[in-house]
């Protein structure tokens, strides 16, 4: 159920019990058989996509009105996705399909989206991997985007079962060569398809010009310069071809340790203080080399720490923040809470929902990330200090923390283009190892150390990792900065007070949504991001309710205002051409559910969802529960 990391609890490890119940009797299936041949849906292949194996007479379970029903069809596996082609497609074309992904349909699972595959053997659920001796009656696929698919293979020919099951297992689990990733065959085949030029003006940060633009935008150009020493990745392939360093820093210093030990600029605050990041120098035992490293760093350090004009605060993220393994462990537990097989499981876990959430520690991690970003914001904004983020490769927690700080401090990062540019700048160009962290090549499953780093980012306002081995870095701080600075690193109570004061005082003022934004981090304020985590769970849908209800009112009003505006424009400037009306996707909002636009409302009737679980024991209140409501009848006063 969980990753091989052996993370227990969190609803993941359950006693073997019948974990799957078929709700469809064979009689129901035969009646469908004739229609199938007529209605079969064609498989939609992308350029370069190849069909690998398939099986017919597969039943996909659809949760509907708190019972399950089977949809009959063909299960196929290509080199890009697993796809179910049911005879039920007709209903999908109905008015309910407000949103339709043209590449990945409702019944498509891209190979890289598969998280776990389970087989059901005699009502028992087992994880499937490698070569199988026995083939399951049912296949359950848990996806990384938290969808859960159930396929019944009982009526499928044995040969086909073998082919499709082993095909799916192989293509979702076997190690892959980079060049075999589907996107390369797609790109080759789709060469002629010219992508529409992006209108969103995302800055890619792949040219010197982009960095200069960002420097100018943030007024960082006073103290920092964009350099092209790494053009063609001559110095280091971890770093982008172009990046920004302090103006006084000689370019040859970058070469010295292949870009390590260099403060690389992330962002500048309106008051001139800047956020920087640095990857650590290689570990050395030799005193001589250590001495050399120390004097190198002393020199570097002077470019950003020049009291009284400029003071730097160093944040050692490798040692004084979250261990990456902890993030991964918490996320594995947390996501398991949303991979729900059936209604019974949903209501069984509902009673202990809060303690399950807490035991995953995910919220705690989110809180610590936010808190760290607020602390750094305080240094930059209130104390006018430069902040230097330190991490072994400066490509995990550095990305996380620096982008969070920018989202809080820079309103530009809260626009769509700005946020996309931020991801590009801090994560893509920042060298976050997506390939490893997401384990796209599925290497060495056994020593998996995946991490969900970008997830805290998106939650506070997603992708795992592999092969990141932390070493002892005790001496790093000393090596790097000398005694004087380590005082600053181990923050005292005084700094804690600064944080509180800064945080409390910000929250006591009216919010300017176009200025600094600090999130609330108290217990009751950190909640499940329902739109992401609950979106596929039918039991959790609020028909006609949820946030979408207010949002659609808002959009309706915007539409009305816009059309009035056009009318006014027309009257004032009759010569101007009419603006084309933007199509409204949110008509008929009563039909939408709280999970719009991610999941369709699959409940066709207006039946309420009724909890099926029973009451938990009250423990110490048992005697109270037995008491009569009225001891003495007071009647009227």
């Amino acid at each position: 159920m969980l990753g091989k990391g052996g993370v227990g609890g969190g609803g993941g490890t359950r006693a073997p019990k019948p974990s799957f119940v078929s709700y469809v009797r064979p009689e129901e299936i035969h009646t469908n058989e004739k229609e199938v041949a007529e209605k079969e849906v064609a498989l939609h292949l992308l350029p370069g996509e190849q069909l690998l194996c398939e099986a017919s007479t597969v039943l996909k379970y659809v949760q509907e009105d708190s019972c399950q029903r089977g949809v009959y069809g063909r299960l196929v596996c290509t080199d890009f996705k697993i796809s179910f082609l049911g005879d039920d497609e007709s209903t999908l074309d109905s008015a309910e399909t407000h949103f339709k992904n043209k590449i990945i349909g409702e019944n498509d699972i891209t190979l890289h989206c598969v998280d776990q595959i389970y087989g059901v053997f005699d009502e028992k659920k087992k994880t499937l991997f490698g070569q199988l001796k026995k083939y399951p009656e049912k296949l359950i696929i848990h996806c990384k985007d938290l969808r859960v698919f159930h396929f019944c293979l009982r009526y499928t020919k044995e040969e086909e079962v073998k082919r499709i099951v082993s095909g799916i297992i192989h293509h979702t689990q076997a190690p892959k060569l980079l060049k075999r990733l589907f996107l390369f065959s797609y790109a080759t085949a789709a060469q002629n398809i010219i992508a529409a030029s992006p209108k969103n003006h995302t800055v890619m940060f792949d040219t010197l010009k982009d960095w200069c633009w960002e420097l100018e935008r943030t007024k960082g150009n006073v103290k920092y310069k964009a350099v092209s020493v790494n053009e063609g990745y001559k110095i280091c392939d971890r770093l982008p071809a172009y990046f920004v360093v302090p103006t006084p820093l000689p370019e040859e210093n970058v070469r010295r340790f292949q870009g390590r030990g260099i403060p690389i600029w992330c962002w500048s605050c309106h008051n001139g203080s800047s956020l920087l990041k640095m990857s650590a120098l290689p570990k050395e035992q030799d005193d001589g080399i250590l001495q050399i490293q120390k004097s190198f760093l002393d020199g570097i350090y002077k470019t950003i720490h020049r009291p009284p004009y400029e003071i730097v605060k160093t944040e050692d993220l490798s040692n004084n923040f979250l261990p990456l393994q902890e993030i991964q462990a918490a996320y594995s537990k947390f996501k398991q809470l949303f991979l729900i097989d059936n209604s019974t499981e949903f209501w069984d876990t509902d009673i202990k929902w809060f303690s399950l959430l807490e035991s995953s520690s995910w919220f705690d991690i989110i809180r610590r990330c936010l808190k760290k970003a607020i602390e750094i914001t305080e240094y930059l904004e209130a104390q006018n200090m430069n902040v230097l983020l330190l991490e072994e490769n400066a490509s995990d927690l550095c990305c996380l923390v620096s982008s969070l700080v920018q989202v809080m401090m820079d309103p530009h990062c809260r626009t769509r283009a700005g946020f996309q540019s931020l991801i590009q700048k801090e994560w893509i160009m920042g060298g976050h190892c997506f390939l490893d962290r997401c384990n796209h090549l599925r290497q060495s499953e056994k020593e998996e150390h995946r991490r969900q780093l970008s997830l805290p980012l998106t939650q506070s306002k997603s992708s795992p990792k592999r092969g990141f081995f932390r070493e002892e870095t005790d001496h790093l701080i000393k090596n790097l900065l000398g005694k004087r600075i380590s005082k600053l690193i181990n923050s005292s109570d005084e700094l804690q007070d600064n944080f509180r004061e800064f945080y409390d005082s910000w929250h006591s003022k009216p919010t300017d949504y176009h200025g600094l934004l600090l999130p609330r981090i108290e217990g009751p304020e950190i909640k499940v991001w329902a739109q992401r985590y609950l979106r596929w769970i039918p039991e959790a849908q609020i028909a006609g309710g949820g946030r979408v209800a207010t949002m659609s009112k808002l959009f309706e009003m915007m539409e009305e205002v816009q059309s009035l505006q056009e009318k006014l424009n027309e009257r004032c400037h009759p010569q101007e051409p009419l603006q084309t009306e933007t199509p409204c996707l949110l008509r008929n909002s009563a039909r939408l559910s709280s999970l719009f636009p991610f999941a369709l409302l699959q409940r066709h009737s207006s039946k309420p969802i009724l909890p099926t679980s029973s009451w938990k024991t009250l423990g110490d209140e048992e005697d109270l529960a037995k008491r009569e409501d009225e001891f003495v009848d007071l009647g009227d006063v």
Partner: protein, 566 residues
Amino acid sequence: MASASAPKCNSHTSDNEPLQSMSQDGVNCDPSEAVPRLPGETLITDKEVIYICPFNGPIKGRVYITNYRLYLRSLETDMRNLRFALKQEGHSRRDMFEILTKYAFPLAHSLPLFAFLNEEKFNVDGWMVYNPVEEYRRQGLPNHQWRITFINKCYELCETYPALLVVPYRASDDDLRRVAAFRSRNRIPVLSWIHPENKMVIVRCSQPLVGMSGKRNKDDEKYLDVIRETNRQISKLTIYDARPSVNAVANKATGGGYESDDAYHNAELFFLDIHNIHVMRESLKKVKDIVYPNVEESHWLSSLESTHWLEHIKLVLTGAIQVADKVSSGKSSVLVHCSDGWDRTAQLTSLAMLMLDSFYRSIEGFEILVQKEWISFGHKFASRIGHGDKNHADADRSPIFLQFVDCVWQMSKQFPTAFEFNERFLITILDHLYSCRFGTFLLNCESAREKQKVAERTVSLWSLINSNKEKFKNPFYTKEFNRVLYPVASMRHLELWVNYYIRWNPRIKQQQPNPVEQRYMELLALRDDYIKRLEELQLANSSKVPSASTSPSSPSQMVPHLQTHF
């Protein structure tokens, strides 16, 4: 961007909401006065004190005690929001304490509650909001199956029921008297709500007096069958007993019980497992422990779970959904009871009615719902709240009505466009549930209120609200008819009502106003402005004046403004 300077004091100017609302309601706002006073409010004493604020430490100030409130005026900064929470240091403690207890618990000192002294005047009379005949007429009653009876006109049939009752046409007043003998405190099954189309009904009552020996009452059995037959249904009558089954069984020992299968052939009984008033009281106490004075941080979720508060909310909502579903689906009429039919029963019927009937989701509709299902049907507000009574450990106290309002809040969270009223409306109701400024929630039942002439001698809370309706309106409200609302009673969606339970903690202050709401209000204003200008242009056009000139904020300038925020 917010500036870096951090003032030493975290006073929240937005915190003095209740005060502001009072000053708008014609409160004495003379700036020379130390305390804003309501008409009829008199100052008893005042003294300089140090207030030990749980959030901000000691604060020097002056405390004022009136016959309505305790008020702290801070000498350092305006901390009006904390006026009800005072601890006092100093030598003349006893004096202050005695005065405070005397006026805080007037009933124990033979003093009247403030509501009887309040001389506030409003331009609307809230006592006129609920007229039972009109409300039943709105429901299409009386009809061929149901009649209005005045048998309880002088409260002689049932002391805790309202004067006016709706009963099956086929049941005579004599039948009703015989049934009353078999129902706890004579609270016979009477109609609460009828479905406008399928004519299924919600009927409420108290438990049958079955007792240990398993007594039967032919009249009661027949009466229930008459109810079942009012809409010629063939199916059984559904009885929802709000209690856990063990409690229902245990109640036999004290003469109560439930409708057994052998006695009531045409009824089907379900237990809803909702706990009693004592369990609810203890649960709320635990909620208070985890939020005051400090909010539990690292183990917030497990602490919240250990209070069971949301679990109780879940069960109450689940029960109400079942009642509403039975009636709405046309499967059968429903009879709801608990022990006496004034706590859990009121919760279930009123919540089910809120789900079924969109009228009750309007401001006046909700007032009528509260007035009808809670106040007139004898929810024992005086005992449950303990108005003016010093015995705070009284076992009769329980936050049953608060729990109901919490359920309503949970529903309004899940359906943010379905309710005409906003959160402030619910909080205002709860504030005045305890304040004794209005007569609305005083005493235990209609007969007692009539005796005390509450409607003549006090002001109704609805007067305050209805004379100021705009403040309590939800801008997103979309009127819908015949739409049944089924909330999702899952812990995944239920949350602690932070703006109510933790509102005094300056650290847990939620964004006010909500940014989406704010944006919506801006758009509304913009729309009205455009409509006005279009009308002006039309006028100008009709008088043949060229429309070249426009106001400086021309519409084309507004376009970028509109688009940047999203």
